[in-house]
């Protein structure tokens, strides 16, 4: 890929910080939301297994 083309594309006609700020904010937010959900699911599963183990032990 031509470096000049890449640089022009990233600059977005002088509006690069606005365009990339918007795109990266959305992708980052979706990624963080997914990561938090994964952590929450693991915690919920761990609690469920603990509850089963406690039940089995009682």
């Amino acid at each position: 890929m031509n470096l000049e083309f890449l640089s022009d594309w990233l600059a977005m006609g002088g509006h690069g910080r606005y365009v990339w700020g918007a795109v990266l904010a959305v992708l980052l937010a979706l990624g963080i939301e997914s990561a938090l959900l994964t952590r929450r699911r693991r915690r919920a599963l761990r609690d469920a297994v603990d509850a089963l183990d406690a039940e089995a032990g009682a």
């Binding site: 959305v26 699911r41 089963l52």
Partner: protein, 256 residues
């Protein structure tokens, strides 16, 4: 009532269904979103009026549409929950609320980033922008109500009531650009009218919207499964024992 509705109204039936749908929605959503961003950011032509800054449209418009769709879905589940007193409906409301709030925030954030190069300001107290800000506050209010009330059933009902009251804001958002003289532009795509966007622009927008839609559906279903686990753990035995445990397993004793 149709059998398929009653079958999946039970949390025990909804959990396996959600588990089956999530990988499909997540994978397809990611693929469509990437394809939409490639079309929108690389292949679509430059706008003759706004130049390159119009490309914010590919994340702003899907976020705005989905923020409204999520709120509409919240109001639907709130009404079903209040009328039928169905637990799963309130769980759906809880699963939707964080995504709705995030999408409304992203709509405002990307809108501000689009407003600066286009209007020369990050924010203006325009009817459309103010109504979307109100939508964001409504989402936060529902989340806060649900979290603040210790009794989950009461928290569910309070959140559902607020979701229904806030429904009046959706037509205001949609028609604000027609009812008032606003700085915000009118709709580029609407039912019954030919779109004003060029072909590749429209394709990128539709791909991004479909991708984000599927991603949000997967996220909401994943959150629903978490809520099901958390609530089932509180009420009774878990829905199903997880197939895989991440805790260290005891080493099996040797035969000797």
């Amino acid at each position: 009532m149709p059998t398929f509705l009653t079958r999946y109204a039970s949390p025990r039936s909804a959990d396996p269904l959600a588990a089956r749908l999530v990988p499909w929605f997540a994978t397809l959503g990611a693929l469509l979103l990437v394809a939409g961003l490639v079309v929108g950011l690389v292949l679509a032509p430059t706008d003759h009026q706004q130049g390159e800054s119009y490309r914010i449209l590919y994340v702003h418009v899907p976020a705005a549409w989905l923020a409204m769709v999520c709120y509409l879905a919240m109001a639907f589940w709130a009404a079903v929950g209040l009328v039928l007193n169905a637990r799963l409906s309130f769980m759906m409301l809880r699963a939707l609320a964080p995504s709705a709030a995030l999408l409304a925030f992203l709509c405002l954030w990307t809108g501000a980033l689009w407003g600066k190069p286009t209007w020369g300001t990050w924010w203006v107290w325009d009817a459309r922008l103010t109504a979307v800000l109100l939508l964001f506050f409504l989402d936060l209010g529902i989340l806060t109500l649900q979290a603040a009330i210790d009794d989950e059933r009461r928290g569910d009902r309070a959140g559902a009531l607020l979701a229904l009251v806030g429904l009046v804001n959706l037509p205001v958002i949609h028609w604000s650009v027609q009812w008032w003289n606003t700085l915000h532009q009118g709709a580029s795509i609407s039912l019954g009218k030919a779109p004003t966007l060029a072909g590749p622009m429209l394709l990128g927008l539709l791909l991004c919207t479909a991708g984000l839609w599927l991603h949000v559906a997967a996220t909401v279903l994943r959150r629903l499964r978490c809520i099901l686990r958390e609530r089932e753990a509180l009420d009774e035995a878990p829905v199903t024992r997880p197939a895989v445990s991440w805790r260290p397993q005891p080493v099996a004793e040797s035969a000797a």
